[in-house]
């Protein structure tokens, strides 16, 4: 097992109290696995991803354990976490287009960063250039300032830099959302290539777009309102989802070929609950057509079929 997360609970501090953004997340990622992490905005997927690398000032660790390659990650301690970052666990942030210092050349910034981590430069810089070539960027981007690059180019530079030290786990947070369709495909396919070439051992790809995950992920983890809803291989999630939320979500997505006049899709009525004071029991019960008395109790996140886990009483029964 590359990554083991057990009962991870992280709150977001807000003016009105704690937002219970990630509540008791428990899952594993195998070596070489690309896990897609999907869900609607505010479901906690980004918080989960960030908390594995660096909690920002407003995030508060509450509970849980994270293990990477058999060693515990001190996610609650910003300083103790530092030696692991970049080398063992790394992130392509959501804001990749503004992640580069605007007044530093890409190459200067990278070497200064490496030097500050006491990483010998000789081999790494050549490897950096080699990988830039792999993602289709000319070597001379090292001599350029971020403003001289297009959005897609910046995205790729950040991808290469974040994974430069061959981390065990790479978290890709909404890397394709800000890109145009054609760039989106190229960048997504590069993520797979990074894994195939062994630049990273395993990966969490966070996105709201299930269809992108279907294209590149091995498994998909669906979150709803701070809780894990379902985890299964990508094919299973798309073709045979166990959780009613996943099922309704998948069937509401229009695809090329589906037309209003021929087949009217329907959405999920209602909206997700506030995570300031989330309801007890299943958090999806108010929007769920299958809800029954037992849903007042919280459903455990358990295996419902081989390789498929879900948090739903109906799926378990």
């Amino acid at each position: 097992m590359s990554l083991k997360v057990d009962g991870l609970t992280v709150y977001y501090q807000s003016l009105r109290g704690d937002v219970k953004a990630v509540d008791g997340a428990t899952f594993e990622i195998a070596d070489g696995e690309i896990m897609g992490l999907a869900g609607e905005s505010g479901c906690g997927k980004s918080t989960l991803g960030k908390s594995l690398v660096r909690m920002d000032a407003r995030m508060r660790y509450v509970d849980g354990r994270v293990e990477l390659d058999g060693k515990e990650l001190p996610v609650w301690d910003d300083r103790k976490m530092n030696p692991y970052r970049f080398k063992h666990v790394s992130i392509i942030p959501q804001y990749a287009l503004s992640a580069l210092n605007p007044t530093r050349k890409i190459g200067t910034m990278a070497t200064e960063l490496l030097a500050s981590r006491d990483i010998p430069l000789n081999g790494v810089v050549d490897e950096f250039k080699r990988r830039l070539k792999i993602v289709g960027l000319p070597e001379d981007v090292l001599e350029r300032f971020p403003i001289e690059l297009s959005g897609g180019m910046k995205q790729r530079v950040v991808m290469v830099l974040s994974s430069l030290l061959d981390p065990s786990l790479l978290i890709a947070d909404e890397v394709t959302s800000a890109l145009d369709v054609s760039t989106q495909r190229a960048v997504s396919e590069l993520l797979v290539e990074f894994r195939d070439r062994g630049f990273v051992k395993s990966m969490i790809v966070i996105t709201h777009d299930l269809s992108v995950l279907y294209q590149i992920a091995d498994t998909i983890l669906v979150m709803y309102a701070g809780k894990l809803a379902e985890k299964a291989p990508a094919e299973t999630v798309v073709h045979a989802p166990a959780h009613p939320y996943t099922r309704m979500l998948i069937s509401s997505l229009p695809e090329v070929g589906v037309r209003y006049a021929e087949k009217r899709l329907i959405g999920i009525p209602g909206r997700p609950p506030s995570l300031l004071e989330p309801p007890t029991g299943c958090r999806f019960k108010t929007r769920c057509p299958l809800a029954f008395e037992k849903c007042a109790e919280e459903p455990p996140f358990v295996e419902v079929a081989p390789g498929q886990a879900a948090a739903c009483w109906k799926a378990t029964a």
Binding site: I91, S98, N101, P102, T103, E112, R117, F145, I147
Partner: protein, 329 residues
């Protein structure tokens, strides 16, 4: 980059033309007759008055059509002719100004540069560090709110009158003449410390506050978060944030020039420092209009040149001005 500089320079050229025009227009279009006003203030004898009237009329060049007056004004300007001082008749205004200028520059240039350097360093140190922030910040607010002349008066009172550590006025000892000698230099420095401190301290406060706030913004910026996510030590994150926070401060430096110059004028007066400020006060008290107009033009030219220098420096520091608007997401 060239377009950026061209735009800036064109603004300065227009500003200069406007300033010269104001300088020319004010005595001509202000309500009341400036010459009569002058004479009434000087309480001249009736027969002298007539003579003076014709003298001023000629000196201002009032006896030709307006457009010609305007052109003459420019022509004289390009020959470095700003007229003659009335109080120090017949010394040319330019000569008086050139004599005072070195003293003002000796105060201004170090005060501007050192306060900028020290204020930014201290402000950056204070940001996000509780104890320092709680001492540096309140002190800086008090300093920025202090009128420079008052700080000068207090410094003079405490360190010169009361403690007698420094001389209370002048730029060098009475017995000395300006020359390149160790003795003169020592005396000069001794006289220079207090007025310099008054200017330095007030400006320091402003820069410290500005940097403290700017760097907090930079530390919250995406690139800072990204660096921290990759495990970069605080040292590197702060270094980057500092460099980027410095850019708006440099723009601010250009804007603050006017205020520093104003400060220098009043501080010089407090210490009877023989620079442009003291010259200005004398000119105001004696209604020496040519001198006032000349100082005005000099100050503006100086500020414009300083602005241009800052703009050029900025191009070297901020790559974005060099690259222009290409690329970008």
């Amino acid at each position: 980059m060239w377009r950026y500089l061209f735009r800036k320079v064109s603004i300065y050229v227009v500003t200069f033309v406007v300033a010269v025009s104001i300088d020319w227009a004010i005595p001509r279009f202000m309500p009341g007759d400036p010459i009569q006003g002058l004479l009434s203030r000087m309480q001249a004898q009736p027969q002298a008055s007539e003579e003076l009237t014709s003298f001023y009329t000629e000196a201002f060049g009032f006896d030709v059509p307006l457009w010609k007056q305007y052109l003459n004004f420019w022509a004289a300007l390009f020959q470095g002719d700003l007229g003659l001082s009335i109080t120090n008749y017949p010394i040319p205004v330019t000569e008086l100004i050139m004599g005072a200028l070195p003293y003002t520059l000796a105060l201004l240039v170090p005060a501007i540069l050192l306060s900028f350097w020290a204020g930014n360093k201290v402000g950056a140190l204070a940001a996000r560090r509780k104890t320092l922030d709680n001492t540096v910040l309140p002190m800086s607010y008090v300093l920025t709110a202090t009128p420079q002349m008052w700080l000068g008066i207090i410094l003079a009172w405490v360190f010169a009158s009361s403690l007698a550590l420094f001389p209370v006025s002048g730029a060098y000892g009475f017995a000395l003449q300006p020359e390149w000698s160790v003795e003169f230099a020592r005396s000069f420095l001794h006289h220079w410390i207090l007025p310099f401190s008054a200017l330095f301290l007030v400006a320091f406060g402003g820069w410290a506050i500005g940097m403290r706030n700017l760097i907090i913004y930079e530390l919250e910026a995406d690139y800072s978060n990204y660096l921290a996510s990759l495990g970069a030590p605080t040292r590197l994150v702060r270094k980057y944030a500092y460099r980027n926070a410095l850019l708006p401060q440099i723009t601010g430096l250009a804007l603050a020039l006017g205020a520093v110059v104003a400060g220098a004028i009043v501080v010089e007066i407090v210490f009877s420092y023989p620079g442009l400020g003291t010259l200005t006060l004398n000119a105001i008290e004696n209604r020496d209009y040519f001198l006032i107009q000349g100082i005005f033009l000099f100050l503006i030219t100086g500020v414009l040149i300083a602005n241009l220098v800052i703009d050029i420096a900025y191009v070297f520091i901020d790559p974005r001005t060099r690259v222009g608007m290409q690329g970008g997401a």
